[in-house]
Subunit: 342 residues, 2 copies
């Protein structure tokens, strides 16, 4: 099964991709640092410390990178694009601060979560600060239309979380329940990132639509792989213990598929485990075997592969020679989503 999460692209491909995106990643991090520097003196020192702690934490800068690439592919390659791009990282990190409070998380990327290191109040407030700043930057750099797309994504994220809260005790979900939650939690922001990137870059309607669709498919594949890693990942790579979703009773695609397909006896077995939170950790390996028996992992993986293919096909309209480089990177990122093991 671990083959399901092993690197599928050859490692040369990944190394090449990393090399290509490195300068942009560097510029994104520089932009965040210079933004925080511009605030020192104006902002409370403790707030700045919390922001530094939470923002510079080994994040992949996946979202701002997508914004930069979408803008460039749509025609504009100025330096201000990096300022616009950091808004997406800010919003993402704001939601992580709040999620960690909500989930009572201990760690984030191997370090104590902000709510542990600085307390609940600091985590909520610093999240609010990043949220406000992200919207201000989007308004400033992308205007009212960009802001509208952005805030639709934010509202959708909250809505997705509520849906998840409400679905918490429902162990018989359909695939569309899963995709509704995923759309709110992950997809809308990634789709907004590529769409606003395109808008900023001066893309026409079909550019914008194509890049939005790319983001939608990519975001969905990204979340499926994330959920697979929660069952099959290697803590050495992910920095996370496997099985957290099961322990929290979170119904993700592999388990939903298994529950749908299992015969009465196996379904009763799974339901008993889900109904008793204290048994979940202990029975993790049994659940993994059961999901595997009903192809929950392989079919989730296939779904992610399908979505990545759709994401790539959305890029076909970008045929100009000057678009080749950025298109290749976006294609590479889509394939990386399938290859990632952390």
């Amino acid at each position: 099964m671990s083959a399901l999460i092993e690197k599928r692209t050859d490692s040369t491909g990944n190394a090449e991709l990393k090399k290509r995106i490195a300068p942009d990643i560097l510029r994104i991090e520089e932009e965040m640092r210079s933004d925080l520097s511009s605030l020192s003196g104006q902002l409370d020192a403790l707030l700045l410390e919390v922001l530094h702690y939470g923002l510079f934490n080994g994040g992949k800068r996946f979202r701002p990178l997508l914004a930069v690439l979408a803008a460039r592919l749509s025609g504009k390659a100025d330096e201000d694009v990096f300022r616009m791009a950091i808004a997406f990282e800010y919003l993402h990190v704001a939601t992580l601060f709040h999620d960690d409070v909500i989930d009572g998380a201990e760690t984030r990327r191997g370090k104590p979560a902000v709510c542990r290191a600085y307390g609940t109040a600091a985590a909520i407030l610093a999240g609010d600060f990043l949220h406000a700043r992200s919207m201000a930057i989007i308004g400033e750099m992308g205007g009212v239309e960009a802001l509208k797309i952005f805030s639709r994504a934010t509202s959708g994220m909250v809505d997705g979380e509520f849906l998840q809260l409400r679905n918490a005790a429902n162990f018989n979900q359909a695939e569309q329940d899963y995709f509704a939650v995923v759309t709110g939690k992950t997809v809308l922001l990634i789709a907004a990132t590529t769409e606003i990137g395109s808008l900023y870059g001066g893309g026409n309607d079909s550019n914008r639509q194509a890049l939005r669709n790319y983001g939608t498919n990519l975001g969905c594949a990204f979340q499926i792989i994330d959920d697979l890693l929660d069952y099959l990942g290697d803590q050495k790579n992910t920095g996370k213990v496997v099985g957290n979703d099961l322990v929290e009773g979170k119904m993700t695609l592999p388990l939903i598929l298994a529950m749908q397909r299992a015969g009465q006896k196996d379904r009763d077995f799974l339901t008993r485990i889900l109904q008793r939170p204290d048994t979940r950790r202990k029975c993790f390996r049994d659940v993994v075997d059961m999901i595997d028996k009903y192809d929950g992992f392989t079919d989730s993986r296939s779904k992610a592969e399908e979505l990545v293919k759709e994401a790539e096909s959305e890029l076909e309209i970008f045929q100009l020679s000057e678009q080749r480089k950025d298109r290749t990177v976006l294609e590479g990122l889509a394939r990386y989503v399938l290859a990632r093991n952390k």
Copy 2:
């Protein structure tokens, strides 16, 4: 001492003010209801329920009313002003949701706080939703410039909360420490409300500046009276037990003044109480007497009166006969801040 918080304007004045603002308050509430209605179907039912619960809770709608009045005084009296105005209530309520989580509050306006009625996750997320929606509305109705003022206020609010966290164990504060916290927590949003109102209403630079200054002075006076009520208020009117600020070790103006002015013996007495959280509730009456001894209450009250006078004087530039009505209401609201007992 209770005279300090008794109604200073004659009750006819207040009744007249209430009658004048009633139609606007009604329109503001209608606009909020119609906004939430427009979301039903799109939003999770539980999220909508939380929003209804938290928004329709006997709020005075002070902030949106100020926005409407500032817009009208600056020249525009259309119906869309109410849509713009509700953003200020949304942001205010978003901060209440989060504050109640941070403070572990049990109740808000006599009902269980959102975090008690629906849980921490719901309170954080619904706050995030209102925050996002408020910024989207401001961007849509007021454009990028309004958004900039608005998000400066939001950032300042977070900054003020951090300052308060950091000052928590400092019992020897200066007046300016108090005003720095108050500016972040209350004043910036009220000043943004009247300034954005004026901007929306097409006010010129001096209109905008005057209305911003009005908001600054009013907000400051408002907070001072709020802090006085925490010592001297009557629970029958305020719905709150007195003494919470002292119990939480919060240094507000009356206590700061007393600490500054007290002789060594009295200061040591107050410090001992502040240093031992378990003694604070028990010693509340002693602290009240001590603050009174050093004129902490009367001088705080005088400061608020001075600020209200300054707020009123900012309105003097609005001399046109068609401005008289709204100007009179804004003057009445400023005086009401001094007269309020809840």
